[in-house]
């Protein structure tokens, strides 16, 4: 009898929770690259303001847009993070579901590094060599294509070590993979003139040549867990890993970033724009939600404050590469205007 009354009480407790239409907590989805930064801002926002701490899910950029564009209303997220700009197809999807006004906020840059264990020698690569090592098909000088013949780095270039090519990298769903393919692979692929010319003539074919990674085991898809990649690199000095700069920054004593086109991936080099493989990071806000879900404007402003995204802010400590001062102040005032408008 006692047990029955106890469980009855518990059931009543559950049923009596009112089904609120209104959420009083910001919901954020999106890129796993932006996740470490967004969570830092969210935590400090939650602790210093009277609002609740936003809930952040790491779904990948593509998954984030899909959730974000599913509609307006408190059951849909308010903000999505992305490690690439929104695509036209996603803007259309949003519009179709009634998400008409979206505000894009750029928050800074992230370098994509190719790193290996400190126990091995440091590699000095060019983008062409990266392409040769990882592309599925290598263009010949005469306009032909052959399956990638390179087994070791020495095969690619005689200055490189006699080590088997083994690169751990993100799967196709990842925004990091999209950016790596567009920046590093395409950059190397362009060094063949006929491929470069193809870009205007037959874009699809061009992308197919430049963006396709090899599938014979030299490129190992290692899932989205970047930390596991770092630890696997530490355990296996012969392999390289592809991940964001923040993971390199936190694990400097275990892994080292390879030079790309003669530039070392350091904070300053990425910030100056010298390091070739870096991309901007964004978040997108649903305008319809601002002013209804409490705290959105304040959160966006907290993100866009110099104490967060500035060169001395706490996001820089976490590995975010800040934008140049001018760009930052321009975007910052835009964000403040957005907040003022909505109110």
């Amino acid at each position: 009898m006692k047990r029955a009354s106890f469980s009855a009480a518990v059931i009543l407790l559950i049923l009596s929770v009112p089904a609120e239409a209104q959420r009083n907590q910001i919901r954020i989805v999106g890129s796993s690259t932006v996740y470490p930064f967004a969570t830092k801002v969210a935590e400090s926002f939650g602790r210093t303001s009277e609002f609740k701490t936003p809930v952040i899910e790491s779904t990948g950029s593509g998954g984030g847009f899909k959730l974000f564009c599913a509609g307006v209303g408190s059951e849909h997220p308010d903000i999505t993070n992305a490690s690439r700009a929104i695509k036209d197809s996603e803007v259309e999807l949003c519009a179709k579901n009634g998400v008409k006004e979206i505000t894009e906020v750029k928050i800074g840059y992230d370098g994509i590094v190719l790193a290996n264990s400190r126990k091995a020698g440091r590699l000095k690569l060019t983008r062409k060599q990266i392409f040769q090592a990882l592309a599925k098909e290598i263009p010949g000088s005469d306009g032909s294509l052959k399956p990638n013949p390179y087994r070791t780095w020495r095969d690619v270039d005689s200055t490189l070590p006699e080590v088997k090519i083994e690169v751990l990298g993100p799967p196709p769903t990842s925004g990091t993979r999209d950016a790596f393919v567009e920046l590093a692979m395409e950059g190397g692929c362009k060094s063949w003139d006929w491929v470069k010319d193809l870009k205007k003539a037959d874009k699809g074919r061009y992308q197919e040549i430049c963006h396709t990674l090899r599938e014979d085991g030299a490129y190992v898809e290692a899932g989205e867990n970047d930390n596991l990649i770092v630890q696997k690199l530490d355990a296996n000095p012969n392999s390289l890993g592809i991940f964001g700069f923040s993971f390199l920054d936190q694990n400097q004593d275990r892994v080292q970033g390879s030079f790309v086109d003669g530039v070392e991936p350091t904070f300053d080099n990425i910030a100056l724009g010298d390091y070739p493989v870096s991309r901007p990071l964004f978040f997108y806000v649903k305008k319809a939600h601002a002013g209804v879900i409490p705290g959105i404007q304040e959160f966006v402003q907290a993100f866009a404050s110099d104490s967060a995204w500035g060169p001395d802010g706490y996001l820089a400590d976490a590995g975010l590469i800040p934008m140049p001062a001018q760009e930052r102040s321009r975007l910052g005032s835009e964000v403040r205007r957005l907040a003022a408008n909505v109110r």
Binding site: I11, V17, Q25, Y35, E43, G46, V55, S58, S246, D253
Partner: protein
């Protein structure tokens, strides 16, 4: 190998009989040696499997025990009215938005050498956690009279200092490759020499939710989330599972359909758990419109997963009750329902509970299905009800394992140890119940 009969014709100087005894003795020795070897092999196997267990636990403990501790730095903080409340208004909002980090830096500046200049002041600030400033803020908010006084406080050290004190951070690497500069290490050593550095059981680890600062991250939010999720799972799957088992075992006939159902239920254990998550996403979130990340949805999904386990265990428990009990009840004039409720169910209950606990233990350790329904998220606030966003313990393990900060490695192992403690407790309970159920008839 020893089944040949002893050959009587064997030529021997000492006679056939003597030979036979010798041969038997020799073979007996061999057989006994074989028996000893076999026994040893079996012992080795047990030792081996127990060894695996201890190896696993020892690895986790070695990696994780430091995650339970945190480094504190004792500092005398002067709550400078100049910084906190320059106008002397005493306004709560002014006090809340004051720069508490600067108080900490000033205090550290007084007890450490070479702290001139803006850069040094910044580097000084990195010694203590961001959380220390929040703590000061909370103290002042609770008691505004603190302004203007000097208090001896223990501040939480930053994760890098914590790692250094625990010996996890190598001092040998070049300065540029370390997270702490030579100067900072010198400061920490100076603080240590002054006896201001202490290592204590972490306050935050057991009482707070997730955080991006490893030194402030805790498992309490995840424990509460797990508790809500498990409660929902238990409330749904136990009655439903027992009702199904009772009906199938006691009332449904034995035919092809019930066979099919039985095989189907047995087989659900092999459906990868992530598929349940996908069904949960489609059904509970998209059709019923329940909130994302809520323990309610997590509980529903895990119910789908535990239901088969409970049904199987409950049916086995019902079958194990000897028919004589039922017959005796009938003989005294009980109806089938009375025999069931008054006699068979109470006897089968320990077995049913064992199965339930095992199913719940599996649900407690499950990560994959929760990936799909938004429970893998950064959630700082401890959930207040089954509809609040929450994570569960294994998800917290998964999230921390993916964090870039080095100090999370120890936290991950520590969280695993917490999870294992709960699992071992549940297992012990199941064993105790099974002992009760292991009644000989």
């Amino acid at each position: 190998m020893n089944s040949q009969p002893i050959s009587p014709q064997a030529p021997s100087p000492t006679g056939p009989a003597q030979l036979g005894v010798d041969a038997v003795r020799a073979r007996l020795r061999k057989r006994n040696a074989a028996a000893r070897r076999f026994r040893l092999l079996c012992q080795a196997a047990v030792a081996c499997s127990l060894g695996f267990l201890f190896l696993l636990l020892a690895t986790l403990c070695l990696r994780g025990y430091q995650g339970f501790f945190q480094t504190l730095i004792e500092v005398d903080i002067f709550f400078d009215p100049q910084v906190l409340d320059p106008d002397g208004s005493g306004d709560a909002e002014v006090l809340a938005s004051a720069n508490y980090g600067s108080l900490i830096r000033s205090s550290l500046q007084e007890i450490l050498p070479d702290t001139e200049g803006r850069r040094a002041r910044r580097a000084l600030g990195e010694l203590v956690s961001l959380g220390a400033a929040y703590e000061l803020q909370n103290r002042v908010a609770a008691d505004p009279a603190l302004v203007g006084t000097t208090q001896a406080l223990s501040l939480v050290a930053s994760d890098e200092v914590d790692l250094l004190i625990k010996g996890e951070l190598s001092r040998e690497v070049e300065e540029s490759e370390r997270r702490l500069s030579d100067l900072q290490i010198a400061w920490v050593d100076a603080l240590d020499a002054q006896g201001r550095v202490r290592t204590r059981l972490s306050r935050y680890f057991f009482t707070s939710g997730d955080s991006r600062e490893p030194e402030m991250a805790g498992v309490w939010g995840a424990v509460v989330g797990s508790a809500y999720t498990m409660l929902i799972t238990l409330l749904l799957s136990f009655p439903l599972g027992v009702a199904t088992a009772v009906y199938l075992e006691e009332f449904a006939g034995k035919n092809r359909w019930t066979d099919l159902i039985e095989i189907n239920i047995n087989n659900l254990a092999a459906v990868p758990s992530i598929v349940y998550g996908l069904l949960g996403l489609a059904l509970f979130l998209n059709v019923f419109g329940l909130p994302r990340s809520a323990p309610l949805v997590g509980g529903l999904v895990l119910t789908l997963m535990t239901l088969p386990i409970i049904i199987i265990a409950s049916r086995a428990a019902l079958r194990a009750v000897p028919p004589s009990i039922r017959e005796a009840a009938y003989g005294l004039g009980a109806s089938p329902m009375q025999a069931l409720v008054h006699h068979i169910l109470p006897l089968a209950l320990p077995g049913m509970l064992t199965g339930t606990i095992i199913g719940m233990a599996r649900a407690l350790g499950e990560t994959a299905p929760l990936l799909m329904i938004g429970m893998v998220a950064f959630i700082v606030d401890v959930p207040q009800g089954p509809l609040d966003p929450a994570t569960v313990l294994p998800v917290q393990v998964y999230l921390w394992a993916d964090s870039p900060e080095r100090a999370f490695e120890a936290k991950t192992s520590a969280a695993i140890l917490v999870l294992l403690t709960f699992l071992i407790l549940m297992n012990t309970l199941a064993v105790a119940l099974r002992k009760k159920a292991e009644r000989r008839w």
